[in-house]
Symmetry: D3
Subunit: 227 residues, 6 copies
């Protein structure tokens, strides 16, 4: 494999990115037919963050963050840095200095299938990170990887320019060319929910609201009173 940095202008449309950022991960995931999620071991370093941005991808070696430095040059405002690793690794590849640099370039957050450190500083900076682990383990700068190639990050396939949405529920990847369509579907889905929420809050049962009783009976569900 040649180690390569791909300079690309491909990004999802800003409008779609912004729209997806209003709905959050669960809605976007449902709106794309329940696909695109990273594994649930990806957790935010502090609660309450919600971001949407376009992916600049990095493929790193375990214990080596050299390519993250390389990737930051490819960031444009609104991007999210997505770091994959060739093997399972929890080393602290990213800390407050890299966050300072990434933010200075316009990066809005980090998604890393490895470890992160300086989490107190990152929290104070309000710099959002979703990671596999928190670890102080330092890394070397010795082996090449690639930037802006397709990667598998935490079980999800990510192409450069795809939309990354991340919040307290996790991280979802929306393919670049589907972003606008997914944003519309997410909007529709969310609009439906307000009315449902009101009805459920008033005590109406989902069984009735969704008309499930017939299907349940047909599937064979029995009711009986306790002895």
């Amino acid at each position: 494999m040649t180690n390569v940095v791909v300079r690309t202008k491909k990004r999802a449309e800003a409008e779609a990115v912004a729209a997806l950022g209003k709905h959050g991960v669960s809605t976007a995931h449902e709106a794309m037919g329940r696909t695109g999620l990273m594994k649930p071991y990806m957790r935010p370093i502090y609660p309450g963050a919600l971001i949407a941005g376009c992916a600049v991808t990095v493929l790193t070696q375990p214990g080596d963050n050299w390519m993250i430095h390389v990737a930051i040059e490819q960031i444009i405002p609104g991007d999210v840095l997505v770091v994959a690793c060739t093997t399972d690794n929890t080393d602290g590849m990213f800390g407050d200095l890299l966050a300072t640099s990434l933010r200075a370039r316009g990066g809005v957050g980090l998604v890393i299938d490895a470890g992160v450190r300086d989490v107190r500083d990152l929290t104070e900076m309000g710099f959002p990170v979703w990671s596999r682990a928190i670890s102080a383990k330092g890394t070397v700068k010795a082996t090449l990887g690639s930037v802006n190639v397709p990667v598998v990050c935490a079980g999800a396939h990510v192409n450069p320019g795809d939309v990354i949405v991340a919040d307290d529920d996790g991280v979802v990847v929306v393919p670049r060319l589907e972003a606008a369509q997914v944003a519309v579907a997410a909007q529709v889905r969310e609009a439906n929910e307000a009315d449902k929420r009101r009805r459920l809050a008033s005590g109406e049962l989902g069984l009735d609201m969704y008309g499930m009783r017939e299907g349940l009976a047909k599937a064979g569900l029995m009711y009986r009173d306790d002895d």
Copy 2:
């Protein structure tokens, strides 16, 4: 296995439930002879919650939350929904709509050996959940399970109507018919602790307060000074 919903009025006595809710998980667990705990992978979605209530149990299939809708109809005020799954699964079976519905029926919390989503909304609602995972992964409504049958949830056996106590330390199950007795034992235990805490705070050693020195010596513990 027939898939069944058992309509039951069996609940632990309200007084015992209330008493257990004052003491919390660790005390209740000790008061029942160190039994009844769920595995420690069950974590609250936000810190500080403490609930006690009677279990309505659900047995679900992986990736399928159909039976949770069915179960909510069986909830009466003060109940806790306890969701087990036939296999290890982290999908997001429960979110803010179900929480709205569960709360509207009087449910006081959720204990789920699977995933939960919309955790920011749930946190804002103050709706407490203990789960195996946080995951946006959507679920289907295709396969039956059962409601109010005995289940194994996170390693603990739960019968409908048992008391569930949950706080920052985890989740404990108190069998329905033992609830009153455990509540008394918990009360006794807690009363003893105030005096111990005062003595320890004043610098008295546990070694002396609990009279451990003789037992340790008899077991063969040796002391020596460093070279």
Copy 3:
């Protein structure tokens, strides 16, 4: 193996301990050549704590906290209690009573490769704990272990009197006799970072600031534009 309590006065110099406490885990770890870290499964029970102190070590049996009571007698002000276990175990070996006692002796925190409970109380007390798990599981007092012997705790070798530094990034062990030297190296490292942070914040790339471009090219990194 004889079960023994070693009474020792060996402690790292107070000045070095204090200096390390200012820099935190990641800096100390880097300053010792990227060594000494415990595994990243060791997490604080609440965010924001930062401690440095000298280790009093305990080797326990699974599900048995007898030796923790023994160890507390060996604590002097400024110490950190470090609990290892002969096998992987998550039981709740330590709670608010032990914390009260440990604090009364001058202990500044707990690092335990097992479980902890009463975490709400501990949080309210502001008593910092780094642990493998949170679990209400009660323990017995039946089998001996040792105090102030060398232990492996969460993958790190700890000798009595070594400096333990712990914060949101994890836990690091600085050997007693290297503490002063590591404190100096940490100070140097931190001093360098302020200038780097300023330059990166202004938009300068790490690629340029660290002079990486030549090394990357020599290693064979290729750049190409997207098709």
Copy 4:
């Protein structure tokens, strides 16, 4: 909790046990409506073993095998020893001496939600064990548990006298009073499979043999040719 040894004569009927032993785990599990399985982390120490027998249950403390000695007295010929633990533990609670004793009493195998050791000797003896781990870690004899009480073992609820079936696919628990009925259902199921196997081997598709095409189309499955 009182620590108790229950002397019981309750066992599933021998005929049903023998019948279940002919079919194996997957068939028994299906025949009981897909229930009763222990978690898949329970693995045999050598391939090819298949046992069925009635459970003598033991509840142990982590790192303590005292109650296994107690339990062996309760074994009658044809029994399987089922060891649960109050917390996750991998210590080597059982080795070739206990196997010698268990076999001398007529025990046909061991199912243990903890560790086992002397696996080379056990393999040479042809003594089958399903365990969570293999570990040489020695245990103490210091704390009581119980024998022949209901336990949760590897996620499954086991009552004394239930049938344990174990083979290369894992371990399943058949409730004592359902054993005869499950044995019949297993027999029926297996009889059906021979014909299916023959048809599939001849190239007939499951899609056709099970008549799935209509259901798939109704559910919305689309076919398209590759571009």
Copy 5:
């Protein structure tokens, strides 16, 4: 997401597949620049198997093997069935009946990021399987997935028609269009190894054979005698 079955004739060239099958996983992985591996949790159900074939991919839901029946119709002689799942799942989605059917269609093996059962029968059939788990857990046929779409299986991206090589070391995916080139590189690599093996067996050190001493010295490696 539309659920779709893609009928495709795309397969890597037979000659390249055969060549890759002679070299095995580690060599193929190295020959493609150390890429393409599935996670190491994918293990063969018996030792000694080595296969290479073209992927027919399936995306399933947890606990649901409906789409595997659908996928078998798409198999042509020499293919390997590659089963991905939308979430982590260990259920026994595949057993001896499906293996009989898959083999009847010419399938040479199964790679499944979930569970497999009937492993004794599969072993006797000599039908090779690499899986995440062995589990008797039965599955339903209720929810659609897709066949011959790109999937992420055990951390690796697989396109229909890619070459799957699997042996005792794990599973590697060679992209369809790179197969011939990788086969050549694998051949070159293997040819080099025979001579190296001979030299190392004669006692020559890798340090000398690979000329590493200079690089190590330049990197700063020090030698010292023990005190």
Copy 6:
């Protein structure tokens, strides 16, 4: 941390090593007071191997096997190579070429807290390996570590020259200077077991043979007949 290779002649006495090799892991572990075990995730690549030898230790970086080449030069006949890693890693750091070289130097086996590959070749060579994982993942030669320094490997502290005993039960470390004494204790322990085995095989209960009944009664164990 300076990266260093320590040339040392320190080895445990050959006689003690040979004696320990006759008894195996569980006996040696018991003979040293139940200490010295590596974690049970360390598993042999094939069953039936039993080795004892003196440790040459290596500290590696994740994904980098450079130092293993360096370490092999320090091997003398009868040694066991013990590979630790600065962080959790499963990459295939060692394969048949390194095994050929290690064996040519007189090395009798490998214990590696990382991955191993070419396991079919290693099995055919009869070269025993205990590892954390089997993985084809290739490694680089870019970053220094150290040889013959104290390391923590799979949770155990290992000094150069310590005795490593490994078999189907796992891996134990016997400190160099205690080897002779542990060998004697192991011999005594094993001698006792033959008689015990005979008595247990004849049907005598451990309860009686070990005289446990009084202790159990004193601890409060109750017997009752089933209702």
